[in-house]
Symmetry: C2
Subunit: 328 residues, 2 copies
């Protein structure tokens, strides 16, 4: 099986590629070829089969067609600019997140006109397709109601995914990722950054800022769970999805206070003391419009699984990012 | 006020233009200029102000920019190919219904970069944004779940309308039209054609074919009501819409049997006898997936009104299309 990962140099993309290179099977078949694409050529992991690393911008004319001309059997489409950037740069957001996705879908359709071709396609969507007014617990019948340009672009991607799949151009499945926590790396300016930061920095012995109150509730999964979702989406038969090709992934609904108590249990009071409260009305207002909890029973019935506690999310971070070690 | 109507040569477009030329006010302002655009140059009605008729294909590069360069204050966007054609010709459907709409929205945004510009924009959507599984009565919280390429294109148009409006590029309102009945003109091959045909042909003394059973229920409004919706959408303040810029229009939920009984009351047994039952399993299956009834209370609270009975819908047809006369 030839697997194409678009967005392979991103945080989730790199972890997915590492998992694929290690696992070397997908949907019951051997993975003998990997093509890894991103704006900058991704790094190749150790892999015994053919591996090609490609610098490619999907929104460039012909770029998607060149990727698809190799007729991969499985395509992971993770390439996107994030919410904050899509909001700050309207044109870039639509070019990358909408046009790039449409170019890919069109390239697959046109490749299928040359000779029969219907790859499986895993599309990463986001809970940003949902915006207020929202119920406290959002079920699988909730409609697409984005309130950001990023959420709009992902919602349009979901609609296109469903129509192209219905037409038989590819076999698509959309995966609405929870907010990924604990996101490794440096603090960033995303409004959601503190959800990871208040755990990641103290676990590294550094101070972190908490801009909202402890009763703020949100929906989380670890990077490891995100990779598991993507691989499970590739593994399963899409027939049970019917016409509703996108699924809200399971996650953990937790308050900031619950995050902090989990940190205390895993890393002690010393870690918790590194969290500095600095209320920020702007961030509080943005976050107040975000989903708090879901009832993702379609995905759970299909075998998708997330963490059950923040203790577990923290332990995943310590294992995967800190080599199993905590700061002294 | 300068009003641009795109899709002005279509059935609803022509009636809208006629109403605007007669009414000559919109949103409390005098209409002193009309620009009418369609693939073929629309016919100009009698109108005392400036009137320009333009042949324009929105999906042609630069076409939307040329229309918008005249900076109309009010834009009605009705241009679309219909459901059956969008399903039969995938590329044409996306080019006209999606690219054309996006070209228009982008042209308005780019015009606003040159100098401040924020027109009101009325977008015609459709109940085709909803597909099964559907409740018997669909309320205003129901999500976008299209099952056709046409419905997908309209749903994407709604999402773009909301995001461009949120950004302040224009002041948009989307109007989900019911199935228009009685559609004037010749019978066509649309799966929904019989809903109009079983009334229109007998009212003209001709035979009509009924391919489904009498208990099939669907959602209707007259062409006159459709024009009233569009004008009311232009007249009202969009502030009460908040972020949800598209509204399901009121309509009449009626069964085929109720249509026939209304025909009997208005035009007698002789007309009803012209309906020939010819069951068609394909049409029955398509129609079974369609919405049956709505609870459009947002639109009703904003003052949108449809017909209350099929007798009224038939009388509107007799008045507007048959010069008030029925066949002998």
């Amino acid at each position: 099986m030839h697997v194409l990962v678009i967005g392979a140099a991103g945080m989730v993309g790199r972890k997915l590629v590492g998992a694929l290179a290690g696992k070397r099977t997908l949907a019951g078949q051997d993975v003998d070829r990997l093509t890894l694409a991103d704006l900058v050529s991704p790094e190749a992991p150790a892999f015994p089969g053919q591996i090609d690393c490609v610098a490619s911008d999907l929104s460039d004319p012909g770029a998607a067609a060149r990727l698809v001309a190799t007729r991969p059997d499985m395509i992971f489409h993770l390439a996107a600019i994030v919410s904050g950037e899509a909001e700050a740069d309207f044109e870039k957001g639509y070019r990358v997140n909408l046009d790039g996705t449409r170019e890919l879908f069109e390239a697959i359709r046109l490749e299928g006109i040359k000779a029969p071709y219907c790859p499986k396609l895993v599309f990463t969507s986001s809970i940003a397709v949902f915006g207020e007014p929202l119920p406290a617990i959002i079920d699988d019948t909730h409609g697409l109601t984005p309130l950001t340009s990023y959420g709009t672009q992902k919602a349009i991607g979901e609609l296109l995914l469903a129509d192209y799949s219905r037409r038989g151009f590819f076999d698509g499945i959309g995966i609405r990722l929870p907010t990924i926590s604990i996101r490794p790396g440096k603090p960033n300016k995303a409004a959601s950054g503190f959800f990871s930061g208040i755990l990641r920095e103290p676990l590294a012995g550094m101070e972190a800022v908490l801009p909202v109150s402890e009763d703020v509730r949100h929906w989380f999964a670890s990077p490891r769970a995100a990779v598991r979702f993507l691989i499970h989406a590739a593994d399963i038969d899409t027939a049970p999805l019917g016409s509703r090709r996108s699924l809200t992934m399971p996650g953990l609904a937790a308050t900031v206070g619950e995050e902090i108590e989990a940190l205390r249990r895993v890393a002690g009071d010393k870690a918790v003391k590194l969290i500095r409260r600095e209320p920020d009305a702007t961030i509080a207002r943005i976050v107040a419009g975000w989903p708090q909890s879901f009832d993702p029973r379609r995905a759970m019935a299909l075998g998708f699984e997330a963490e059950k506690s923040f203790d577990e999310i923290i332990r995943v971070h310590i294992e995967d990012e800190l080599g199993g070690l905590m700061p002294a």
